[in-house]
Amino acid sequence: MTPPDTAGDALRHDAPLPNPLPRPPDELPRLERIWRSPRGWAFPWTEVNNNWIGVLYLGTAGLFCVLAVILSLLMRAQLAVPGNDLLDQETYNQVFTTHGTMMMFLFAVPAVEALGVYLLPAMLAARDLPFPRLSAYAYWAYAVGGLGFFTSLFFGLAPNGGWFMYPPLTSHEYSPGINADFWLLGIGFIEISAIAGAVEIVVGILRNRAPGMTLARMPLFAWAMLVFAVMIIFAFPAVIWATVLLELERAFDWPFFLPDRGGDPLLRQHLFWFFGHPEVYIIFLPAAGAVSMIVPAMVQTRMVGYGLVAMALVATGFLSFGLWVHHMYATGIPSLSLAFFSGASFAVSVPTGIQVFAWIATIASGKPKLHVPMLFVFGFLFIFVLGGLTGVMVAIVPFDWQAHDTYFIVAHLHYVLIGGMVFPLLAGLYYWAPSAAGWRLSVRLGKWVFWLLFLGVNLTFFPMHISGLIGMPRRVWTYPEGMGLEVWNMLSTASAAVSALGVLLLLVDLARNFRMSPGGPADNPFNAATLEWLPQGNYAARSIPRITSREPLWDQPDLAEQVRQGRHFLPGTVTGLRETLVTSPVEARPQYVAIIPGPAWAHFIAALCTAGFFLSLTVKLLWLAGIFGTVAVSAILYWLWTGTDLGPVVDRADIGGGLCLPVYVSGPDSVSWWAMVVLLLVDGTVFACLGFTHAFLWLSNGDAQWPPPGMGVPEVAFPLGSLALLAGCAGLLWLAGRLLRQGRARAMGGVVLLALPLFLLALGLDLHAVWQAGIRPTLHAFGAATFANQFWQGLHGLMVATMALYLAARAFAGLIDPVRRITFDNVRIFWLYALAQAAAGLCLTHLLPRALGTG
């Protein structure tokens, strides 16, 4: 699908406005009706619109934050005096683990993701994100699962191993209770929910921008969210894989981390921090992006160094994947590699420096007004710069040997996260609240909130630098008298109470002054330059503006009025369904009008049951998990069957400016294809982690133990047989594609049903080969790693089977034809990926031990 040639003319800044006045009288009412929120008892459960889901998401993240703050106050109360007995050691250990886990997984990542879900469509002038039900599904799974996770604390079942859950402490022998499982399963699907959000955000940013909003004109917040989402795609698989391995070890005694059977506890640390360090920037970058939006509005001038900042965001994303070892300086890693990671850790501070100086430059070239958001920006600069400087300190190996795992680190990480994320988020809250609520939050209360939090946070955490260096390790439920720790701890506790007062006032402000009203009073109180300040409804902007600069509201006079009158693109609805404009990834030329789904129950039920599935698995109610799992999968299939791949509902859509676009596109231009490719990047990264697991355990065991005595490598005939089956399967998929092109959709369905057993047979044959060679998962890490591969391939067998049957059913039901083929395309891409992955898995199992020369 090539973009229409006329687009170039219609996008020129001197072209006439795309749509003339007067607009048809029923155009706007129709648009409003189609985008109306569900009413009555269906609200908010069936709601999918990003305005509502975004705010619910933010509110839920805020709730989890407040709960985690309460936990932190409990800890501060316990540590106020030495030898305190307010919390016993077991409760304390559960409380600090839950606090850290909630802040990272239930507050920080979801909050910035929610900010993206809420803001991005308006900022890019899209009607919604491309997959609203996916967002809603991710939100509900997160909300329900997160509450279930928090509740475990009341039963004494919360995890107690620290938020990075190092084995062997978290292995079955030392943590026999289900507390650790609550972390693994309870957080496991929140990771999945984060990935769902990331897919949505990547595709939304690259494909749903306003016409003319080239990458170089994209708001910096969108740049930040793009890097954020790409980082999630490559970082979260590592933690998912680490979670899978630990749960497999706990549930089935596969010794990945147990050294007496060839495992290595450091494997978990590498995987965890390969996620964990980027995680810090995953949290920080969107916040930095928000600051880059707020500062120009506050000082009424353009961002200085836009290009440098965009580059810095991308560079941070890259570099952050090269520093994970700086959390492991004390593990005895050779000093040469430590020097490398030390240098890489220094390097990442350069892009951050660029951003700080860009904000300073922007402030200097404008006229700052001390609105509440600006106060929070100043607070952010103060706290974050200090945290960044201690970050440079702990990047230095000898210093880190002292600071590591002490209260110095507790201070550092809170400075970075509170400074780098919470203050910008609050700045954003005070800045963007008018866009959601129609009016501003209280200036008076806002100033109080700022000063209480600013003083409270600094006085709570600064003393911790000192208590850490004079001998206080982190994660201690108490400390002895007479080490000089008393005064610093008392100061921290007292100041924590001050911060708590700030949080309380913030809640009062929100309760008094925040009422959702999308489409309510629309003005631009800070005279900002970007599109989220256009007059908005649930459908975002009435018509989708043609963009000619980075600051459209400053450079295109009357834009708001033109948009409101419907004089820009797509001023109503063409198909009578919810739609959004899809544009090209770099130049943002209009390509087609995508139909997007509206309110429904299926995704909500699926989300509830997904959360229910994982929670009942955790408490070992297998029958309940079975029910939840079945209902969840059924609901998802129903949702896909009824809500996706609708085909070309109308032939062409006239969006104005002479642009007539299709409403259905398949292949590499469709957003659905993009989403599948992004998902496969996630999948491939998990598989890379699997490969890393093999390589790491081999290195840790040495050639002689890989495989260990007693386990052989299966005869070469087996993998060759599997390969032949995989190749046959690929051939059949090719044939299926050919048949579909010829319009023989039912025959295609038949061929797909033929290909499926070949794939499953290939996987089964390999399982048999491994078993008959004497490889057992419980005896040695070699067997565990081999079976981890079997597990992963089996999971894909299951998914491919589901997808193949679904595809065949659609084909037989006449819902697939040579044009309407997105379902086919997506299944085929995934399937081909699974075939390639299975072949790579065969190499891991059969080639690697042979290549090492002992097989």
């Binding site: 440098l308 004390a330 005895g332 220094f346 404008g366 000898p398």
Partner: protein, 313 residues
């Protein structure tokens, strides 16, 4: 006070790191103040300063050139320092080897080669001679722990299946404190130990004393204590060299009476606290691996076993 402080070093490596720390605090503080002043100037500065600060060039100078220069210099400096920390300190003499094994929630210290058939084993304290390099060879018997003696050096993780090394040296005789710094379970907070640096002569004398098997009871109550120790099954977990008990689950008690602390740096060590620990260890350090023996011993037996252990100097 200050027994466990990185800012009060008591050995050459600790001093190097403390000096580095002060350099970092000074430099970091200066940069912090500089940036905050720039923010202030950006807000309230004069026309000229603000125009200077508001340019793209200011970003390149402040955000790229400045950090690259400063951080490169810092990297070179710290790499040199890290290298120096790895080199032997005291010339000639090979370092004294001490193996330290982490357990939930206590420390086992072994001095290999100090006995014909191995070495003496002690717990929860490291005795070292002053002025000599000591190589700690650390590992763990269960979960990951981390050994930290801030006055002498940074921490080193104790990982099961792996032996890590940390070279320390103390200059002056004295007592220092160390603690576990990798969260290791319920009583992570109460897993501490003492380091006692002694003159080489005192250290040699201590070593000679430790080489001896446990003292024979010379009073009836001590004899009773020894008997109770066996009857209550203490020997199922503990070793006392020179007796029939040689289990390795809990600390070696051969010279327990000579140690500075009880329960891994938690209590002072004398017959009173010994009795309290034996009878109610779960009151004192809930979740530790030793059961409370109050139900198994009568008062006199408890007193006797405590007295006997105290006599094992």
């Amino acid at each position: 006070m200050n027994l466990q402080s990185a800012m009060h070093p008591a050995g050459p490596d600790g001093e190097r790191i403390a000096a580095l720390s002060w350099l970092l605090f000074g430099g970091g503080g200066a940069i912090f103040v500089l940036v905050m002043v720039l923010v202030l100037v950006a807000v309230v500065g004069g026309r000229w300063e603000r125009r200077l600060l508001g340019s793209r060039r200011a970003i390149v100078v402040g955000g790229i050139a400045f950090p690259v220069v400063v951080l490169t210099a810092l990297l070179l400096h710290t790499l040199g320092l890290a290298r120096a920390i790895g080199l032997p300190l005291a010339g000639g003499e090979p370092p004294l080897r001490i193996e330290v094994v982490g357990h939930q929630f206590w420390w086992e210290m072994r001095y290999p080669g100090t006995l014909p058939d191995g070495g003496i084993v002690t717990a929860n304290e490291i005795r070292i001679p002053t002025g000599r390099d000591v190589m700690l060879e650390v590992t763990s018997a269960d979960v990951i722990h981390s050994l930290w003696i801030p006055a002498l050096h940074g921490k080193i993780d104790m990982i099961p299946g792996l032996v890590n090394h940390r070279r320390i040296r103390a200059d002056e005789p004295g007592v220092l404190r160390g603690q576990c710094t990798e969260f290791c379970g319920a009583q992570h907070a109460m897993m501490a130990f003492y380091v006692m640096a002694q003159t080489p002569e005192d250290f040699a004398a201590w070593l000679d004393q430790q080489r001896l098997p446990a003292a024979e009871p010379d009073r009836p109550i001590l004899a009773l204590g020894r008997q109770v120790f066996g009857a209550a099954g203490c020997g199922g977990c503990h070793a006392v060299r020179g007796t029939e008990w040689n289990a390795r689950i809990g600390p070696d008690l051969t010279h327990v009476g000579s140690r500075l602390s009880l329960g891994a740096g938690v209590l002072e060590n004398h017959r009173g606290t010994l009795a309290g620990w034996i009878a109610g260890s779960q009151d004192l350090k809930p979740g530790n691996r030793m059961p409370s023996f109050a139900a198994a011993l009568d008062g006199q037996e408890l007193r006797a076993v405590a007295a006997w252990l105290e006599s094992l100097k």
